[in-house]
């Protein structure tokens, strides 16, 4: 445990982190604890609306994200780990800035203020802005030997409106390089994983996922690290490639480097067991 002053943030988990990928949530919370970053879950948060609300009704999508913004207490930035939730939250804030009428109507509806200057950040941005020195000092396991594909999928692509904003591309490499791992840049890091088509049209998703996995193997990586919990799931459940590399949530590999010991509970939820690879590198017992 370090002696840095505690940093407070509001935290929006989102449905994936809360349900299908609790290992991602647990490992992120563990990392934050090591780094003195205090993530305070938004009280009574709701789903950001995700692709389905965005597909069928814009007002609904905007209002669902806006409700979460209305729950964020003033004075501390809002942090999300799921890139899609982050996108919808930022997008809602931008829409409300441009549409004061809807902004007022929603504030009145819930009797809460929606701060249009609230800073909405990805967890990786928090690490880079506040935590790189903390990171170096807190690291207890060197990730030397981990050759990872930083798999962002579509998470850093965004609509033209949000293109000029600061985002978290490249931060995964920056952070994990600091911890001794080696990023592999020649695989399909930015190829979409198939998103919800994995549920409705697996025959479309499987070839994509196989291409991504094959490219990682060909590039000489020994694992993939994902920015998004849904990507992690799709890459695991839809892969039929011959060699299946383990796929980590970014927060898992981070927590491991910081010395977390409760990793068993995370790794048993993986369909491709990462423990043999980590044991080979003598990272875990």
């Amino acid at each position: 445990m370090n002696t840095y002053p505690r940093l407070d943030f509001s935290y929006f988990p989102g449905c994936s982190m809360a349900t299908t990928a609790p290992e991602s949530n647990l490992s992120m919370m563990r990392s934050a604890q090591f780094l003195g970053i205090n993530l305070i879950e938004l009280e009574d948060w709701n789903c950001c609306g995700s692709s389905s609300a965005q597909t069928l009704c814009k007002n609904l999508s905007l209002a669902m994200s806006a409700r979460n913004l209305s729950l964020a207490p003033a004075g501390r930035p809002l942090v999300a780990m799921c890139p899609r939730c982050l996108l919808y939250l930022r997008h809602a804030q931008m829409c409300l800035r441009r549409d004061p009428e809807t902004h007022r109507a929603l504030e009145k509806r819930w009797g809460r203020t929606i701060d249009l200057d609230l800073e909405i950040m990805h967890f990786m941005e928090v690490l880079v802005r506040f935590g790189l020195d903390r990171l170096k000092e807190s690291a207890t396991r060197s990730l030397h030997g981990v050759r990872f594909v930083p798999y962002y999928g579509c998470t850093v692509f965004r609509p033209p409106d949000l293109k000029r904003e600061k985002y978290f591309q490249g931060e995964m490499e920056n952070i994990l390089k600091t911890l001794g791992a080696q990023p592999i840049a020649t695989a399909l890091s930015y190829r979409c994983c198939g998103s919800f088509l994995s549920a409705t049209a697996p025959e479309v998703v499987t070839p994509l996922v196989d291409e991504i996995m094959d490219s990682a193997v060909a590039a000489g990586a020994n694992c993939l690290v994902t920015a998004c919990a849904m990507c992690q799931l799709n890459l695991e459940i839809r892969c039929t490639a011959g060699t299946k590399l383990p796929i980590f949530h970014f927060s898992e590999i981070l927590a491991l480097a910081l010395g977390a010991e409760d990793y068993e509970g995370w790794f048993i939820r993986h369909l491709v067991d990462p423990r043999p690879m980590l044991q080979e590198l003598a990272l875990v017992a």
């Binding site: 609790p22 789903c47 069928l56 814009k58 509806r109 033209p160 930015y190 979409c192 549920a199 048993i268």
Partner: protein
């Protein structure tokens, strides 16, 4: 008195009824306004199509969809598979040299297809989205096991993906009980705009 040709005399019995119609707005104008995206800027360089991970599953390529809208071909474009296959990954928007928000165009076309009641080319994908919305309306959060169950009931695809579902259950990736929002009335209130107006 000479008999006036009934076609020329609208009051004559048997004369064809003349209905003055409001000229319908052009499809392009409607899509441009609703998506806040000026798709007239598209000069069909096909950067979007070259980058799209899903083009193999599409009947029209992304730039062809824009072309159909530019030409005002309402039926083929609202009835095509492409608009439903698009997951909104924004690979295309990021590569477009004219900064066109192509995913926003796809979104508007999907909404128009539902509103105008045309035959949906990928009804199972619409079913899936609606099941997600039902879950969100009921719990405020997505309950994935419930969504997949109801989606299976609706599409009657009982046997597909049973292995994946069992693996996910075994790995505790699917919660049996939904996680709920306490102030659920704040959520269900928001759904009036979708279910009650367009359905």
């Amino acid at each position: 008195m000479t008999q006036i040709n009934p076609i020329l005399n609208p009051d004559a019995p048997g004369a064809p009824r003349i209905v003055e119609s409001q000229p319908r707005r052009s499809l392009a104008a409607e899509v441009i306004e609703r998506s806040a995206t000026n798709l007239s800027r598209c000069y069909h360089c096909q950067a979007c199509t070259n980058g799209c991970p899903f083009f193999r599953a599409m009947d029209y390529h992304p730039n062809q969809v824009l072309r159909l809208v530019q030409y005002g071909m309402r039926e083929p474009v609202l009835g095509c598979k492409t608009i439903w296959i698009c997951v909104g990954c924004h690979t295309c928007s990021s590569q477009c040299p004219m900064n066109i928000n192509i995913a926003a165009v796809m979104e508007v076309l999907r909404q128009m297809a539902v509103e105008e009641g045309v035959a949906i080319a990928k009804p199972d994908i619409l079913d899936f989205h609606e099941e997600v919305l039902r879950s969100l309306e009921r719990y405020g959060r997505a309950h994935k096991l419930g969504i997949m169950w109801r989606y299976k009931v609706r599409t009657r695809r009982w046997l597909s993906d049973v292995d994946v579902g069992l693996k996910m259950l075994a790995k505790r990736k699917l919660d049996l009980r939904p996680s709920r929002v306490k102030a659920i009335e704040e959520i269900s209130d928001l759904f009036k705009c979708y279910w009650r107006e367009s359905k």
